[in-house]
Symmetry: C2
Subunit: 224 residues, 2 copies
């Protein structure tokens, strides 16, 4: 099968959404071509493959495009069945989908508000991120990974929390996201960092820090 | 198996999100107990079963809760495998998930803006609903249903478009959502109305009309 497969991923180096697709493909051992997009000058291919949202990531498998990162992850798990990233039990699958959606629609949505707000509004958004993140942490419940004893769907999606929250902590200061406040999540971050493929799929920390700082600057509400 | 099953659905009569769960269960022939929630005075059961979002719908199957309507629909399809509502092919499944998410995150999100805005802002939101709805219509592409020759996942999710857009058309007037502008979708609405179970899962039209009018009134931006 492998010889006939053509797998392309359109992404952006800093995007946690394309990075999670890259990680899933690597965990499955699927060879793919990565195409870096310039979002200020989107390629005709990206516009052709995702005419609805015009966003990365897009996975193109043998000419057929799939967009939206959570949809792509399900597609990958259904197409390449080795190393499953979703559990088999329907209720566990439902819980997995619930928490993956929670990370994107609650934690990340609140984190975006932190960047693009100021003063009191930013304080409220920070509390919101922390409250949601605490709910997520409780799901670990003594396990090494959200997926149990190995990395799974929620870990792949949640890798953004592992990477972006410490960077925001560094920029914002205070006690936004510290090991004292989130011991379970920091233990989980440690477990993730033991996985070579996870490290391979992370943007260089200093480069990402500069990138996130620039977003804060551009929001005109740079802290301090 | 049926004797041992206990299936409960917590919903609200007017909610398209709980109505879609009701429809899926009926299409599968799964007997269930329906519990109407009062959102102004949520039941201890709802708060217990969906402590994260505290929202309907919640499906409780043999004591185990599942929340978030798209997650519940996938759970239903994986648990009761007769009359599948998702296609089998991974790429078709991905397209199904993509469009279901599009209905909720694009069409409904814009429709909510229509209700809660006024003047120029409302006009822009109306254009947005129409543009998104046109994209959805194009997916029918000559088929009777989004699912092909029978009702499927996107039809179940999209039933909200079939029911709520005509009601908003009646309230807003103009050419918000007319058969002339959306011939494909109106043909599809006709096909849906031929299915008894679909009709069973719709709130009474006049009652829903009064309900939606009241939402417009409460938004203090009632048209005309």
């Amino acid at each position: 099968m492998a010889d006939q497969e053509e797998v392309k991923l359109y992404g952006v180096w800093a995007s946690p959404f394309s990075r999670r697709i890259e990680l899933a493909l690597k965990l499955k051992g699927v060879p793919f071509e990565y195409i870096e997009e310039d979002l200020s000058n989107k390629s005709p291919s990206l516009l052709k493959y995702n005419p609805v949202h015009k966003k990365i990531p897009v996975l193109v498998h043998n000419g057929k495009p799939v967009a939206e990162s959570l949809v792509i992850l399900e597609y990958i798990d259904e197409t390449w069945k080795n190393n499953p990233i979703l559990p088999l039990d329907p209720h566990e699958r439902a819980m997995t989908r619930f928490w993956a959606s929670f990370i994107d629609n609650k934690i990340l949505a609140a984190a975006v508000k932190v960047v693009y707000s100021e003063g009191k509004e930013r304080e409220v958004a920070i509390l919101e991120v922390r409250e949601h993140t605490k709910m997520l942490e409780q799901q670990l419940n003594g396990k090494d990974f959200f997926g149990g004893d190995k990395i799974g769907f929620v870990d792949i999606v949640g890798n953004v929390v592992a990477l972006w929250l410490p960077i925001n902590q560094e920029i914002l200061g205070g006690e936004f996201f510290t090991p004292e406040k989130f011991p379970g999540l920091f233990e989980w971050i440690g477990k993730l960092q033991e996985i070579d493929l996870v490290n391979e799929c992370r943007p260089p920390r200093e480069k990402l820090l500069a990138y996130v700082k620039a977003i804060y600057e551009s929001s005109k509400n740079a802290p301090k």
